[in-house]
């Protein structure tokens, strides 16, 4: 058309960059307790609104309110609080250990502790997670030994993965924790395959896939949703929307869609958004989705709305790409503080006991760290052998690898 103006490309930018005043006024936060809790076998078409709201249980006064409340006893909540506090203390120690040169790399959970810790408690033994690198709460809340996590982080002689994998890319079949790849998005579709296998074998176990907001842009995400919806796989598909993919704000992956959860609607998959900093809400939604899977009602897509308080990893500095005070301005608060305040409101906890618990947890983490460091750290002490490097590529070592191992003198 001769009279049309020239085209121009739209490249989204976050509203706020370093030097600006943080502003989350565009994040609509519904009141705690205001979102309905439909029956798990409700027609997915009747659930579409859930993809655009945020399910919340804890209100500003620290009370648990609404239809998603009431699933956990004070003892269970206290256990959850301690899991989150443990993960936070663990992160702090390992972050420091990386700075001290005891390992090459670390990724912390600050601000996102509720997501993996609460989700874990909705699963049964035998269920399988296909996690990303920021769900170590699945291990902490699943009673995986912290010493083994640290041995892996240090790539020392007791590393269960023999020094072959980047720090924090844990694996524990026994604890329902699939080997983390380190590639993004790939495991989302594998979770669907695992769930399909369970259904093929008429098993009762279910799978949970994990992905970040940024990685939903990968084709694997789309393929996972196609297969999950086509075969009604017994899987919970979790998107952790922590607002930032390294330096890239979530608007780059999300495009014009209202929410990440809304991606599921075109597949007819029930899709929910939940306050990811609300332990009770995460747990309640996880329970709901897990029950759907277990009752052979098919997949559920869950978007956890949260905020990555720390850096992406030990290799980046967030002050270079986002406003410094942004995490303080995040409207959904700190998951640890919110659960702590709720327990105090219930009369089941106090500031004194919290301080005491913090000290006890720190002692436990330090004791585990000392134990792990007896087996070495990345550059000192015991380490996996060069022979271990050649093992386990195949079940049986083929001749060419045997020749190379000989050549390497091991």
């Amino acid at each position: 058309m001769a009279d049309a103006p020239p085209l121009s490309l739209y490249v989204p930018e976050p509203a706020v960059r370093p030097g600006d005043t943080p502003d989350f006024s565009n994040v609509v936060i519904p009141k705690a307790g205001s979102v309905d809790r439909p029956p798990v076998d409700a027609d997915p078409e009747s659930l579409r609104d859930l993809a655009f709201s945020i399910i919340r249980v804890l209100n500003r006064k620290g009370e648990a309110v609404g239809p998603w409340a009431g699933l956990l006893t004070p003892d269970e909540l206290l256990e959850g609080l301690k899991h989150m506090m443990t993960l936070r203390a663990f992160d702090a120690r390992m972050q420091t250990a990386q700075r001290q040169g005891k390992t090459s790399f670390y990724m912390q959970h600050m601000g996102e502790e509720a997501v993996s810790c609460a989700f874990r408690k909705a699963l049964e033994p035998g269920d399988m997670n296909f996690p990303t690198y920021r769900q170590a709460g699945l291990l902490i809340a699943g009673d995986y030994p912290m010493v083994d996590m640290m041995n892996q982080i240090y790539s020392n002689e007791a590393d269960p993965l023999k020094g072959r994998q980047l720090p924090i890319m844990y694996s524990s079949k026994e604890h329902g924790f699939f080997s983390i790849s380190g590639n993004l998005g790939t495991q989302f579709v594998q979770a669907v395959g695992w769930a399909m296998a369970s259904a093929i074998k008429n098993d009762t176990r279910i799978a949970a896939g994990w992905i970040g907001d940024g990685s939903t842009a990968e084709s694997d995400f789309h393929a996972a949703l196609v297969f999950a919806s086509t075969y009604r796989a017994p899987v919970v598909l979790n998107i952790v929307n922590n607002q930032w993919a390294i330096s890239t704000f979530q608007g780059i992956a999300r495009g014009g869609s209202g929410t990440f959860a809304a991606r599921g609607l075109g597949f007819g998959i029930p899709s929910l958004r939940v306050d990811g900093n609300d332990y009770l809400a995460v747990h309640a939604v996880a329970k709901w989705a897990v029950e759907r899977a277990r009752r052979n009602l098919g997949p559920t897509l869950v978007e956890y709305v949260t905020y990555r308080v720390g850096a992406h990893s030990t290799s980046d500095d967030p002050s270079a790409y986002r406003a410094k005070a942004e995490s303080d301005a995040w409207p959904l608060g700190d998951p640890v503080l919110r659960l702590k305040n709720h327990l105090i409101t219930l009369g089941a906890w106090s500031d004194e006991r919290h301080t005491q618990a913090e000290a006890e947890i720190l002692d436990t983490v330090i004791a585990a760290q000392k134990e792990a460091e007896k087996h070495g750290t990345l550059h000192s002490g015991g380490k996996p052998s060069t022979r271990d490097m050649f093992e386990g590529v195949y079940e049986e070592m083929p001749p060419h690898l045997r020749r190379q191992r000989q050549q390497a003198g091991v």
């Binding site: 399988m128 296909f130 269960p160 993965l161 023999k162 072959r164 994998q165 890319m169 694996s171 524990s172 079949k173 699939f178 080997s179 790849s181 590639n183 790939t186 495991q187 579709v189 594998q190 979770a191 669907v192 395959g193 695992w194 769930a195 399909m196 296998a197 369970s198 259904a199 093929i200 074998k201 799978a207 084709s219 694997d220 789309h222 393929a223 996972a224 196609v226 297969f227 086509t230 386990g392 590529v393 195949y394 079940e395 083929p398 001749p399 060419h400």
Partner: protein, 337 residues
Amino acid sequence: MPRMTMIEAIRDALDVSMGRDDNVVVFGEDVGYFGGVFRCTAGLQQKYGRTRCFDAPISELGIVGTAIGMAAYGLKPCVEVQFADYVYPAYDQIVSEAARLRYRSNGQFTCPMVVRMPTGGGIFGGQTHSQSPEALFTHVSGLKVVEPSNPVDAKGLLIAAIEDPDPVIFLEPKRLYNGPFDGHHDRPVTPWSKHALGEVEAGHYTVPLGKASVRREGSALTVLTYGTMVYVAEAAAEETGIDAEIIDLRTLLPLDLDAITTSVKKTGRCVVVHEATLTSGFGAELAALVQQHCFYNLEAPIARVTGWDTPYPHAQEWDYFPGPARIGEAMREAMEA
């Protein structure tokens, strides 16, 4: 003994494997009700039910990605990628995930999966139905790469691949599905029913992975090849009168180096033949190994006869294809050097 085409032999291998082990599942595009565009899975859904053999969405990434999850669960998925040319969307899943799962989890999780795919040209398939991507897989630690050249091997190797504890890329030379095509595209192909290797044992048997086979014994030079090119090389030997020893590698990874060195040390000359493009092709690996292990036995430079380094063309298919004339010329040059 039953006579089978390579398609029937592959179907029989799937049938035998599914019959013996409930954990074997088969899926892919058009694989279920219809039985596959090449008919390799015909009848399997009817026999084993829709949860053991089924149609998949057109997503190679999804087919292979879900198969990896199934294998990690404990099933033995044998999936079909409709043409090897379509495998690239699944490449990340194969390379970063299937191939490394055992290693990175220290054996907690494994991936006993087979990815079947028709490979090679000669069917006027153009650049999207003719490629030979084997070197993209032989370069990946943790994979096994198999390419049979006849019904007997196809069945035994496929059963072995399904029973293997590690991921196997199973390349089926589609030009050989119905007969041992020798590169003379203007002549009729002998059907497998009239070829000794079309006589396929019924029931369960395996051909071990990692073992080559001497298809033609000879003393003048060694041809290292696999897939369709086995018969093209045989034709070249007959037509030139050169007493070539033709080694059908059958498994490219792990490679039967002993069979290669035994033959080249005997003949002192070596021609490497594959249909895939030349540069960084699997022939480069073969040539490097031969010179490393047989240098003092070599009487002539190692020659490579391959597809040209162009995309696989349509109208010029037979100019691209390394036919008997080109192989024969390389053999003569090797003899004269």
